[in-house]
């Protein structure tokens, strides 16, 4: 009873919280993050007070979305033909990730809402951690074999490319122009390695 747990008991706890987050994500396109969370909690029959299980509120919902999309990347990478060169895998993964943002969140307004939640100072460390995990995942799936300091610069640059493209997309601009810019940037980048 008084023992300190040496193993993580997160699994049983997160099952019910993940369930709430999954249900809430479905309502994000129509209601926005704040109301979607409330609706998700109510739909599962829990008291309104259950929002306390998310200490950072709507940011936990945004984080859940980011994590789901990052884990889905390995599936998209598996669907590409095996002979694709690195920079093509890179650009196609970044594009599919950006596309997923719009698909799941419904519209650029929800995406800009997510970005504004992510850039709140108290949430910034969490957002940056997710961004770095994302660029790490993409680089790994693009068969990056760099070592030493290159490992860091690659991922840092990819984070910058991804973040600026994402910001560009959230303002509802022309998609095709943005697509070319990602390909151009990733090509130049890989070529410089």
């Amino acid at each position: 009873m008084f023992a300190r747990r040496l193993y993580s008991t997160a699994s049983s706890a997160s099952k019910s919280t993940t369930q709430i987050l999954d249900v809430s994500l479905k309502y994000v396109p129509e209601l926005g993050f704040e109301n979607a969370l409330v609706k998700g909690i109510r739909e599962l029959g829990y008291s309104d007070a259950a929002h306390s299980v998310f200490p950072q509120g709507t940011f936990n919902l945004v984080q859940h979305h980011l994590k789901q999309q990052r884990l889905a990347l390995s599936k998209s990478a598996a669907e590409l033909p095996t002979s694709t060169p690195s920079h093509n895998i890179l650009s196609s993964l970044v594009k599919s990730r950006l596309r997923a943002n719009i698909e799941v969140l419904g519209s650029p307004t929800r995406l800009s809402e997510a970005i504004s939640i992510m850039t709140l100072p108290s949430n910034l460390p969490g957002s940056l951690e997710e961004l770095h995990s994302l660029s790490d995942e993409i680089m790994y799936l693009a068969h990056d074999r760099s070592t030493g300091f290159d490992w860091y610069t690659n991922r840092g640059s990819l984070s910058a490319i991804y973040a600026s493209s994402g910001k560009f997309r959230s303002s509802d601009s022309v998609f095709s122009r943005n697509n070319c810019s990602i390909e151009r940037r990733s090509y130049y980048y890989i070529a410089s390695l």
Partner: protein, 304 residues
């Protein structure tokens, strides 16, 4: 040195006769001063009362006695001991909990346990009204001690909730909560009360019973200071200054000696978070938040 100690002991005996006669007569049948017994007095189960070991069935009575003594000067002593910081802790506790009916939902039911004086109860109702415009949620205040509850009822008359149906006062034992039905409360709060309970796991299990699915258990309590230097200073302050303050300001050293000893006895943040999880609650993150370097901590668990 010896003379000083003898004098101190004599003074302790004369000042504390009222309190000690009661508890020592109950335990040993002899009306004497402090008698520390390292073994249990009867064959029954024992528990701790500060640094003393007492039979379990006596602890409730002893705690009741402590709080009957301090009821009228409770807030005054709290201010003196914590230099007013306890108000900040309680404000933070309530704003973190963020109680109140959300748009499109039904009125909530709050339960404040061992909250006789009404500190947290009034803060919760005010927060709900101010931040969420909730004028319908109901607050139930329960306490094992009728004097503390009477104090709370007296104070509630000065709030807008005074004689309305929005606030109810009941004398209840937190380990049973007989008058509270299952799955009926949205928020269960206990502020600086749980360390006095005889059987904390039973109280946690009862909290789990009375909360609705999705309901929150929130506990504000003294805890272990995380920094060892600060901890030394804090211990010095607790054991030397607080009982002295109790003696000087309200003439009751022993109740405050019990207070600091019971703080020392309370489990650490991780241990208590483990107990909350064992009772069936889901923790948010690590389950606790330290206040003032760990002097106090807020533990939260949700019934999911």
């Amino acid at each position: 040195m010896i003379v000083k100690r003898a004098l101190a002991r004599a003074q302790k005996q004369s000042n504390s006769l009222r309190f000690l006669n009661c508890c020592n007569t109950a335990i040993t049948g002899e009306p004497l001063g402090f008698v520390r017994r390292p073994y249990s007095t009867e064959g029954s189960k024992t528990t701790h009362f500060g640094f003393k070991t007492v039979p379990e069935d006596e602890k409730e009575h002893l705690v009741k006695h402590v709080f009957s003594n301090v009821a009228s000067s409770y807030d005054y002593m709290n201010d003196a001991m914590s230099l007013g910081i306890h108000r900040l802790w309680k404000d933070h506790f309530v704003s973190k909990l963020d109680p109140g009916r959300r748009a499109g939902g039904s009125p909530l039911s709050f339960l404040d346990v061992a909250g006789g004086s009404g500190d947290i109860a009034f803060r919760i109702l005010d927060h709900a009204a101010k931040i969420h415009g909730d004028h319908e949620s109901v607050m139930n205040v329960v306490d094992i001690n009728p004097e503390m509850l009477a104090e709370g009822e007296k104070r509630s008359k000065e709030t807008p909730y005074g004689n309305t149906s929005r606030i109810n006062f009941k004398v209840q034992n937190a380990e049973f909560l007989d008058a509270i039905p299952d799955n009926s409360q949205d928020i269960y709060t206990v502020s600086f009360g749980i360390r006095n309970f005889t059987n904390i796991p039973a109280a946690l299990a009862t909290a789990h019973r009375v909360l609705k699915p999705g309901g929150v258990f929130a506990c504000l309590e003294f805890s272990k200071v995380d920094n060892s230097i600060l901890d030394t200073l804090y211990q010095q302050y607790s054991f030397n200054i607080i009982p002295l303050l109790g003696q000087v300001l309200v003439g009751d050293r022993d109740s405050y000696q019990y207070l600091v000893e019971s703080i020392q006895r309370f489990p650490s943040q991780e241990q208590f978070a483990g107990m909350i999880q064992d009772a069936g609650f889901t923790l948010a993150g690590s389950g606790y938040e330290n206040l003032s370097f760990g002097i106090a901590a807020i533990h939260t668990g949700v019934k999911l």
